[in-house]
Symmetry: C2
Subunit: 265 residues, 2 copies
């Protein structure tokens, strides 16, 4: 009746969530890992093995040059129709469609798509806050492969500092049924994405029903509490003291529910 003890993480002595201030404006081609390491060394605690580094998607996209000038976008028929339905800029709609697999919902003020990487979210994650001071017609797309971005950043940090950290790339998504956005994970390297508690039992030996905890979304939600979304300028945070489940690393993409098994598309 007892659960699989090897899956159970050790007791937590508490977790710290530490913002990293002082990261400069990021531009295409910047060595983002170096900027974050320097900011952490200067202002906060230096990265150390076992840390989880959470980085806002926006600065990853900027470093990777995932920027699009709206002046270069020519909206087609579908975009013009959806722009009318939603009340949105037709060029923005075209940019969203170009980076999407499917439209999930379109209504006045709402455009929810399955973005090319598989995330279901408003505008396919595209936005134009904090992008460029001199160019208000530029938008940032999601990284082409945020799991690969996380893995590359993780490798660079190991190379530069010798510290084996996990890297999570966070975004803020709205949800059905509830108001407001929460921090979520769209890229992961160095952690299991889900903590599989199937086979674990509760205090009385019942098998747990809600059996998989999405720890990477919880970690990104926690980090968002110190990162802020606005002019705070703290697009990264360190989570220290979290005891990871003893399971294999998995990419963020592995938490996507296949469309054919999803009751809400």
């Amino acid at each position: 009746m007892d659960g699989n003890l090897s899956q159970r993480p050790p007791r937590q002595e508490g977790i710290r969530i530490i913002p990293i201030p002082g990261i400069p404006l990021v531009r295409p081609g910047d060595d983002l890992a170096a900027l974050i390491i320097e900011a952490a060394d200067t202002a906060g605690p230096s990265l150390q093995s076992g840390d989880i580094l959470v980085i806002a998607q926006k600065i990853v996209s900027k470093a990777e040059g995932r920027l699009l000038r709206l002046a270069d976008v020519r909206p087609g028929e579908d975009a013009l129709r959806l722009a009318q339905e939603t009340g949105k800029d037709a060029r923005v709609v075209q940019a969203v469609l170009d980076d999407s697999r499917a439209v999930v919902r379109a209504r006045e003020g709402v455009l929810i798509v399955e973005q090319s990487s598989g995330w279901v979210c408003a505008h396919g994650g595209l936005d134009h806050s904090n992008v460029a001071p001199e160019e208000d017609e530029t938008v940032a797309l999601l990284p082409a492969d945020a799991d690969a971005s996380a893995a590359a950043l993780r490798g660079r940090i190991l190379e530069e500092t010798g510290a084996t950290v996990a890297v999570l790339i966070s975004d803020s998504h709205g949800r059905p049924w509830k108001m407001g956005t929460v921090g979520v994970c769209i890229g992961c390297a160095g952690l299991p994405a889900l903590w599989d508690q199937r086979g674990l039992t509760d205090l009385f030996g019942y098998e747990l029903v809600a059996s998989e905890e999405c720890i990477i979304d919880e970690l990104c939600a926690a980090a968002t509490l110190v990162m802020g979304q606005s002019s705070e300028g703290r697009p990264a945070a360190i989570i220290r003291g979290y005891s990871r489940p003893d399971a294999a690393d998995a990419p963020a993409r592995s938490i996507q529910r296949p469309a054919e098994k999803d009751l809400f598309r």
Copy 2:
């Protein structure tokens, strides 16, 4: 162009998330606030003003006697039909229906309802893990009014310790589109539920698009990382060092999206 500075929380110096071990098994009628205060005083840091205390729904329900013996449940026609559709125990289905306003989705293995308090979740939050050692036919319902439960616990803690804390009651919910559950908030006292960032601007003065952050769900997600769902027996945690937005307190219920404005029911 600048945002409303008064809405912007001060810089965070980092947050700590501290589990409270040693809370004994909770039984109907127990003084839950007293049990938590004693456990925190004994094993962890004592509660202090400014702390956010996150408590798992299950022990609140147990203290409030929100328990149901399945042997006392007589499934009606709807429950028998839904039990067949979903492959679930007809008595469990009847118990879920009795505490629900509407069925949102029912399929093999899936029963998602709008629970009486307005939360859309699997089984209306009903479950039978960690309920009773001698009685495997007993299930726990959600608190009848978790916001009121949170307010009462907050009042008792102030009375007993002199500390003004916020109290959040957490549950773990699945989500559309993604695998796994995350910690969410179903009861809140002493915090704003949403951080309204409308009117705030980004580093370059653009108005933020994703404008409301659901801080209570993020706080409960963060706490869940140290609380665990299984036999860990740590059904409460303290969050220390979070700088709350300067906005009025609001109940968890205020984050529920009205059904008529929801595109996913």
